[in-house]
């Protein structure tokens, strides 16, 4: 008995002091025969649990990747059919039904770029200046808590509501037919501003206070400290935040449908006339469904699913846009970190 029980003590002592004490108490109660030599059992249980969790975690990773991979696959596979120089350099002007010439996305591509640039011009200064005010000047006063709450509410505004806001604002001045590119830019900036404010705020908060003090200690004014010390230190983070906010809004459809409308030809003026954008183009093409090719009086080529093909190809272009934005963002970030010797 004593030999076995001491063996058990050895085994148990691997599990620490508690079990040893427990064992001692039980032994004193002469209940030692009920104790199993459990060290190996526990380790087997742990190993099983460990493996179970590994499988579970791996499975959830696979489940998460399925939609992502399938989106990439489907967009690329369906989109590649129409990606040609012709497609990228022509508009939909004069394109009829499913007949050749099949048209392209030039007007939508240019529209998306112009509308997004317009949105950047509106939202980047407002967003960054607001964040600077909140972090550097307002430190928890009443106005800042009001602004913070408003930003929170604003980031939850449905995109269609942002579109309605921009549309009705312009309709106030230019009447109900006011459909411009710049109106779309305004709708997108309503969606971008809260994201830019939040990410810039975060980056400014990450700038160590010691740097501000170092600058003040050298007799540098607060304004110069912010411009020359705080903003350059936070620059990479701010750029990344801005790029992510663009990536977020560049695929918005509903607000652009309301504000910039839909048109089949190129429009380079943000301040006059309708303007096509890639998401609206995709929506338009897809919603028109199959073309009728039976009554071919022109004798031209005809593809009944040409609209689907154009939609998929435009989707691929939009997708590539967003990937480029992300890549540029991370490259800038990396380059700046490298320059600082990290």
């Amino acid at each position: 008995m004593s030999k076995i029980s001491s063996f058990r003590v050895n085994l148990l002592s691997k599990n620490g002091l508690k079990s040893k004490v427990l064992f001692k108490n039980i032994k004193n109660n002469r209940l030692s025969k009920f104790i199993k030599p459990s060290s190996r059992v526990i380790s087997r249980q742990r190993r099983q649990f460990d493996n179970f969790m590994k499988v579970l975690i791996f499975l959830s990773f696979i489940i998460v990747s399925i939609p992502l991979v399938s989106i990439i696959y489907i967009v690329v596979a369906n989109g590649l059919t129409q990606i040609t120089p012709y497609f990228l350099t022509h508009t939909m002007k004069g394109v009829m039904g499913g007949f050749s010439p099949f048209g392209g996305i030039l007007h939508a591509l240019v529209g998306t770029i112009l509308i997004t640039l317009g949105a950047m011009v509106i939202s980047i200064p407002i967003g960054i200046l607001t964040a600077i005010y909140l972090v550097e000047y307002a430190k928890g006063n009443k106005l800042s808590s009001i602004v913070n709450t408003l930003v929170d509410i604003m980031s939850g505004v449905p995109s269609i509501v942002a579109g309605l806001f921009a549309y009705s604002l312009f309709a106030l001045f230019f009447g109900p037919t006011a459909v411009f590119g710049i109106s779309g830019s305004l709708a997108l900036s309503v969606l971008m501003i809260p994201t830019i404010i939040r990410s810039t705020q975060e980056m400014l908060n990450l700038v160590p206070n010691q740097l501000r003090e170092a600058s003040y200690g050298l007799g540098v004014s607060k304004f110069r400290t912010i411009i020359k010390v705080v903003l350059p230190t936070a620059f990479s983070g701010i750029v990344t935040g801005v790029l992510l906010s663009i990536a977020r809004v560049i695929g918005e459809t509903a607000p652009l449908l309301l504000t910039a409308g839909s048109i089949d030809s190129l429009n380079l003026n943000l301040f006059s006339g309708r303007m096509m954008s890639l998401p609206v183009y995709i929506y338009n093409e897809y919603s028109q469904g199959l073309a009728v090719c039976t009554n071919n009086i022109f004798g031209a080529d005809c593809l009944s699913d040409i609209r689907m093909q154009r939609a998929w190809s435009a989707a691929l272009v939009l997708f590539i846009f967003i990937i480029i934005l992300n890549l540029v963002g991370t490259t800038i970030k990396k380059r700046i970190l490298k320059k600082r010797g990290k």
Partner: protein
């Protein structure tokens, strides 16, 4: 050259809380003056009022006056930003600007204030400041590399070089060695001793040996209780404070009976 500082009946407040009460003292030019005392006794707070840095903290205010060579730093026509150019500061943790090279860090005070310099002037300022901070020989071959690649002690001496590049008359040091190892501490202490021939230096330290090593005069601050304001208890020659202080509290503190 260093300048003389006269502090007259200075109270410091954070909002309604009085942090430091009724400090009057004279800080001699071209000498090292050390502030010692237990944590929370207001010595750092008081130090930061000498170049009006405390104003960067929320709701901090001051009553009384500080005279730099007879000029009241708190009179209404004085610009606090200008005060900080004349009264330089070195902080507890080395804080070089991470986005700048060693050279740019030394020139930071001048460049950030948008003063233009010729290449020759800039080179001269960099060299004299780094030599003044005993750092030139260690970094002269890598002036354009990032400042944050240096050791902590080198970074702290770079911060001192950055401060003296502004040609201040007074240097305030807030526990400049508390984040450094003994060897770096020695280098900085040697530097403080050398700088004292050209600058008025005020150093806050928790290390009483350091105060006795580097300073000619020492001021002892204390608080009577938590939440009470800190007061200046005694100020005298360093040798006298550490051998024969006239106040019982000072005696208790330096002999290790509390604190």
């Amino acid at each position: 050259m260093g300048q003389r500082i006269d502090v007259e009946h200075l109270d410091v407040f954070y909002g309604k809380f009085m942090a430091v009460e009724n400090v009057s003292m004279t800080i001699n030019p071209n000498q090292v003056t050390a502030f010692i005392g237990p944590s929370g006794c207001g010595k750092s707070t008081f130090l930061r009022t000498i170049n009006r840095m405390h104003e960067m903290t929320d709701k901090a205010t001051v009553k009384g006056s500080i005279l730099l060579e007879g000029r009241n730093l708190y009179s209404s026509e004085i610009d606090p930003v200008q005060v900080r150019r004349e009264v330089g500061m070195v902080f507890q943790r080395p804080n070089p600007f991470p986005t700048m090279s060693i050279r740019q860090n030394v020139l930071a005070g001048i460049k950030l204030n948008n003063k233009s310099l010729t290449k020759a002037q800039a080179d001269e300022i960099v060299e004299t400041s780094l030599k003044g901070a005993n750092l030139f020989n260690e970094v002269k071959d890598r002036l354009d590399s990032a400042a944050i690649g240096m050791s902590g002690g080198q970074q702290q001496r770079l911060c001192i070089a950055r401060a003296i590049a502004m040609k201040p008359s007074v240097l305030l040091m807030d526990e400049p060695c508390s984040a450094l190892d003994p060897i770096s501490t020695l280098a900085v202490e040697d530097l403080i001793y050398e700088l004292s021939s050209n600058y008025t230096i005020v150093i806050v330290t928790h290390n009483m040996q350091q105060a006795s090593r580097v300073s000619q005069r020492t001021a002892f601050f204390n608080i009577s209780d938590v939440g009470k304001p800190g007061r200046l208890i005694e100020m005298d020659q360093t040798t006298k404070i550490f051998s024969n202080p006239s106040n019982q509290q000072t005696e208790n503190y330096i002999s290790g009976k509390f604190g």
